[in-house]
Amino acid sequence: MKKFLTIALVSIILSSSVHAGTDGENNLSKKNPGQVKDCFETVNRVTFKFNETLDGAVFEPIAKTYRLLPSEIRVGTSNALDNISSLITIPNNVLQGDIKEAGINIGRFAINTTVGIFGIFDVAKKIGFSEYKKEDYGQTLAVWGVGAGCYLVLPILGPSTVRDTAGSFANALGGDPYYNISTNGNNEYLTTSQYMTAKILTGINFRAQNIDSLDNLEKNSIDFYASVRSLYLQDRKQKISNSNSALEIIYDADWEEIDFE
């Protein structure tokens, strides 16, 4: 039980920080009924500060070291981790009713796991598969109409919402086939430590890819907490809508008002 809880906690934390959010709303105005409220802002800011300190002491140095590895190794690692993540994406494609995308991702997983040697090489992309889009249970809940709830900053894991956090629990409750096989499955090839390694590597890989942009953002923000919150909520909104376009940003009423003033 203790082992399960540890894994569940780490899984939630890592998946939250990697996915950078789950929400459908990003307008924090009190006038907007569809807003994501920062109900626990005081506590969130304290947790955010704690995470920043921890990041500076532990995660960022590791990510910087990781970045010194040859790009071929980093790309291969990133590809393999994406391949593993499709085990969560595929059931979520199905749960969201996107059967076509589920089929594509099953094909992608089969090709990359075999021809691509456990996903190290993204062969599917080279033969013309569409760009891979991760899905998670937080996104599925949003598609089903579940509201985002309050904005949260989780210790170690970072920004989230009540809905995203609940979605992350699904991974440890049977929603992540890789977890089920490695931890609950009785086999000699996959172990809990391998599962944990994959999760930790996912976090390090994400952090390494965003070192410059996060440093830059922090340096030029007058309220870093608010900037991260805004970016997280925008990111989740885009992922839930599976849209590459910024149409909602484009048709922003505030711009229209300015044009008429």
Binding site: L28, S29, D212, N216, R229, D235, I250, D254, W255
Partner: protein, 196 residues
């Protein structure tokens, strides 16, 4: 009357030709701006020179005043003329410092404009790709260009991988004002501190 008609026709032709000559396509405008910024970020310049060049480019190509108003959100309706004037001045300095400082960290970024889409009479969205390097994957950047005046298009937003920079800025400012009970002077104080 005949003379008047000839003159009018001549005038219309002249005006039409002038507007044709000086109107700039949004994608060409963005690519040209990007090329200028890349040149400014060339390593032959010192960091200070880079920053000054980037600020000049921003003054010419970005609608700083418009972004400032947008960023203030609904609060702009509740402040007086003096505060508006003060805000405009502070915002321009803040924007230029922040913008130049963000970009000056990069050296020779390679951006390729891929397409454009006219949204309405006011806006054109230009799509581009920041080419991948060994340190990071490729990045999709959309440019929201205000094209009401075709002779003088202006950038109003950068949307990086779907994340709007000016919206983030707006929510950052809003957070500061809200946490100070709606007092815009708190924002002024923080902006002044940043500009120093």
């Amino acid at each position: 009357m005949k003379k008047f008609l000839t003159f009018t026709t001549f005038l219309i032709i002249i005006i039409f030709n002038i507007s044709k000559v000086y109107s700039i396509e949004a994608d060409i405008f963005v690519q040209s701006t990007v090329n200028r910024a890349s040149e400014a970020l060339n390593n032959k310049f010192s960091k200070e020179e880079k920053i000054n060049k980037l600020k000049d480019i921003a003054r010419e190509t970005v609608d700083i005043k418009g972004i400032g108003f947008y960023t203030l959100g609904a609060y702009r309706k509740n402040i007086n003329d003096y505060q508006i004037k003060k805000y405009n001045t502070l915002f321009e300095q803040y924007f230029l410092k922040s913008f130049a400082s963000r970009l000056a960290e990069y050296s020779n970024p390679e951006i390729e404009v891929t397409s454009k889409k006219k949204l309405d009479q006011n806006y054109t969205m230009v799509s581009s790709i920041l080419v991948a390097t060994e340190q990071r994957p490729k990045v999709k950047i959309d440019w929201r260009v205000y094209t009401k005046n075709l002779e003088n298009p202006l950038i109003r937003d950068l949307i990086i991988e779907g994340l709007s920079l000016v919206r983030t800025q707006k929510e950052e400012f809003s957070s500061i004002i809200q946490s100070n009970n709606g007092d815009i002077n708190a924002l002024f104080f923080i902006l002044e501190d940043f500009i120093k």
